[in-house]
């Protein structure tokens, strides 16, 4: 016995012609989606409260350096006067980043006990040697530093990552006025792939996605990083970052 393609099409249509039950209930689906979100966030708070908290957390805006930080919020630090300290001696997410990084001095920084978050660091660079140094609790976390959509993305390999901007990535007036560096830290997640858009079977350039996953290199884009943060929700994972520059 041999069949044709039309036989196959006919069979598939015939077997689905009778469908028992009612149409899908939107309310039940949305309720299920909310449960998924709550599970993903790993919190027992009501969805609306968690969503509002996440939205506030993700709002772009400069950090008020030296301002007291509420509990479980990032704490920011400005130019440090303390002694240089190895990161390993610090409690990630609670202590300040080291005051010095080799010959460079800290000109800004922050710490957080949550990942999948980002923030703007306001700094006053003195040179084009500006370096961003991350220390992460999650040893395979993704860390992003960007200025005006250009910058670097890397793993926080063994809990450490250091990004030095190329001069071409920085605005010409870099040393002339206060600047903003956007930093993000994401946990190790299957939502992110190291593949580039060029090598994708299904690239979605506008979303910065490769075969349904976020292309790591695209996370320097604010919109892409924000989408990933929204998909993940805030998660455990302490980290801190210092911005260093020549004195």
């Amino acid at each position: 016995m041999t069949y044709t393609e039309d036989d196959l099409r006919g069979l598939l249509a015939e077997r689905t012609a009778y469908m028992p039950g009612k149409a899908s209930d939107v309310t039940r689906i949305v309720r299920r989606g909310r449960r998924m979100l709550m599970l993903r966030w790993g919190v027992g708070v009501a969805l609306t409260g968690a969503a509002a908290a996440t939205a506030l957390w993700l709002l772009p805006g400069p950090l008020e350096t030296r301002a007291p930080a509420p509990a479980a919020q990032p704490s920011a630090t400005a130019r440090g006067d303390g002694p240089e300290a190895p990161a390993g001696n610090l409690e990630v997410g609670r202590d300040d980043p080291p005051a010095r990084l080799g010959p460079l001095t800290r000109i800004g920084g922050m710490a957080s006990d949550r990942s999948a978050v980002g923030n703007d660091l306001k700094v006053r660079p003195a040179s084009f040697a500006t370096t961003v140094a991350f220390t992460c609790e999650g040893r395979a976390s993704w860390v992003v530093s960007s200025v005006d959509g250009a910058g670097q993305v890397s793993r926080c390999a063994d809990g450490q990552a250091r990004h030095t901007f190329r001069k071409s990535e920085l605005p010409r007036d870099w040393t002339k006025k206060e600047q903003s560096i956007r930093v993000w830290v994401f946990p190790d997640t299957p939502l992110v792939t190291e593949a580039t858009l060029a090598g994708c079977a299904l690239p979605e350039k506008d979303k910065g996605m490769c075969d349904g996953r976020y292309a790591a290199g695209e996370l320097v884009r604010y919109d892409v990083a924000l989408q990933l943060a929204g998909d993940l929700g805030t998660q455990p994972g302490a980290w801190m970052v210092g911005v260093y520059d020549e004195e």
Partner: protein, 162 residues
């Protein structure tokens, strides 16, 4: 009505039919569709344009992940059984049952390709996009599936019955 509710209203019936072809029973199909739509709801705000490719991708991915974890509890049919004897009045029904049993006996990936291509009418590149694999892989899976189903793609209008 928001866009998600509108989408569910318009498309859930079709999605359930597709899900039924993937899983083989209506209750599991409904569960699969609800799960896929709930996941789509979570990401709804970042879906631009036609949500269908995104939702179908979630549907097929969810189906694949379920079946990796669950025992299917059915015995796959290796090949389509031979047809009933000519003249048998149950012949047509038997032939369809045999073909259906063979569809049920395909691997999950092969069945997904068959359903997306022949039921949803997607092109093979579209199938590849939804299933997250290369076009070559889809062609290979389709070829193997058609061989097992004894479907000849080049014979579209007439049966080759003796």
């Amino acid at each position: 009505m928001d866009s998600f509710a509108e989408y569910v209203t318009q498309r859930s019936v079709r999605l359930r039919r597709t899900a039924y072809l993937l899983v083989g029973d209506w209750a599991t199909a409904e569960d699969l569709v609800q799960t896929a739509l709930a996941r789509a709801w979570v990401a709804w705000r970042r879906i631009e344009g036609d949500p269908d490719p995104y939702v179908y991708r979630i549907l097929t991915n969810t189906h694949a992940s379920w079946w990796r974890r669950r025992s299917r509890g059915e015995v796959p049919v290796e090949r389509v059984p031979e047809a009933a004897a000519p003249g048998d009045f149950t012949r047509d029904v038997t032939e369809k049952d045999a073909l259906w049993a063979a569809v049920r006996g395909l691997s999950d990936r092969q069945r997904a390709v068959i359903v997306l291509h022949y039921f949803e009418g997607l092109t093979l590149p579209q199938c590849a996009g939804l299933l997250g694999c290369s076009l070559g892989t889809v062609k290979t899976q389709l070829g193997r599936a058609l061989t097992r189903l004894r479907v000849h793609p080049e014979i579209r209008l007439a049966r080759t019955e003796p």
